[in-house]
């Protein structure tokens, strides 16, 4: 059964996202939250990396954290779904374990 990985640090500041993507297994879910939501946007230096990750992983970004920072949920990299807190709970319920990459 798959795992849910959560990432909450900006990829421009810490290497948590890179570490997570390097270890997540095909079919796992990765949720970008807090300062990590910047990685979900198209046009950033991480767009290619996220597009590649979306081929094997289920990628999601927390909508309230995008809104807090004035980031447009319609401009996320294709393959990344925008979820609310209920969606976060669903992801946690669907997966066996949660791995927080702090």
């Amino acid at each position: 059964m798959s795992a849910l990985h959560t990432v909450n640090k900006s990829p421009f500041e810490r290497s948590c996202l890179e570490a997570c993507l390097g270890h997540a297994q095909p079919g796992d879910a990765v949720l970008l939250m807090e300062d990590a939501v910047i990685a979900a946007l198209s046009g950033t230096a991480f767009e290619g990396k996220m597009a590649d990750a979306a081929k094997t992983l289920r990628l999601a970004v927390l909508g309230p954290d995008l809104a807090a920072r004035g980031l447009d949920p319609t401009k996320v990299v294709s393959g990344i779904s925008v979820v609310d807190y209920a969606g976060f709970v669903d992801l946690a319920a669907e997966t066996k374990a949660t791995n927080a990459w702090l």
Binding site: I38, S42, P64
Partner: protein, 126 residues
């Protein structure tokens, strides 16, 4: 006689490098900047790395239960704090442009930012 009484004016720069809501750095620096306005110094604000997100338009943090302090950046002009600099490379790396920013700034290159920092008397980075 101290610097204040002798009327010495120094070049201060507050360097913002952190995104606004994940940590408390952005809010704390903003408080420092507002306090500094009382001391009649030559204050400069720099936004680089994830700090450029501090002045992104359209911030609505109600959904994460946090106060929206971004309108305060617009009030800085009223305190005669008008020297705001944003690093072009930092904007581009994050898929942002000057139009995404909620205040008037001077967009300068990383090399220019380095030179500007070198010209300051006091630099406070957070």
């Amino acid at each position: 006689m101290d610097d204040m009484e002798s009327g010495i004016v120094k070049k201060f720069m507050f360097v913002n490098r952190k995104a606004p809501y994940g940590t408390v750095y952005a809010l704390e620096v903003l408080e420092m900047v507002l306090i500094s306005a009382a001391f009649d110094q030559d204050v400069h604000l720099a936004f680089l790395d994830d700090g450029v997100l501090q002045i992104k338009k359209g911030q609505t943090p109600a959904g994460i239960g946090t106060k929206n302090f971004s309108p305060t950046y617009r009030a800085l002009e009223g305190y005669d704090i008008e020297k705001l600099y944003v690093e072009a490379e930092s904007l581009a790396e994050r898929g942002l442009t000057e139009d995404d920013l909620l205040v008037d700034v001077e967009v300068i290159s990383r090399a220019e930012m380095g030179k500007l920092m070198a010209d300051m008397d006091v630099v406070l980075t957070a």
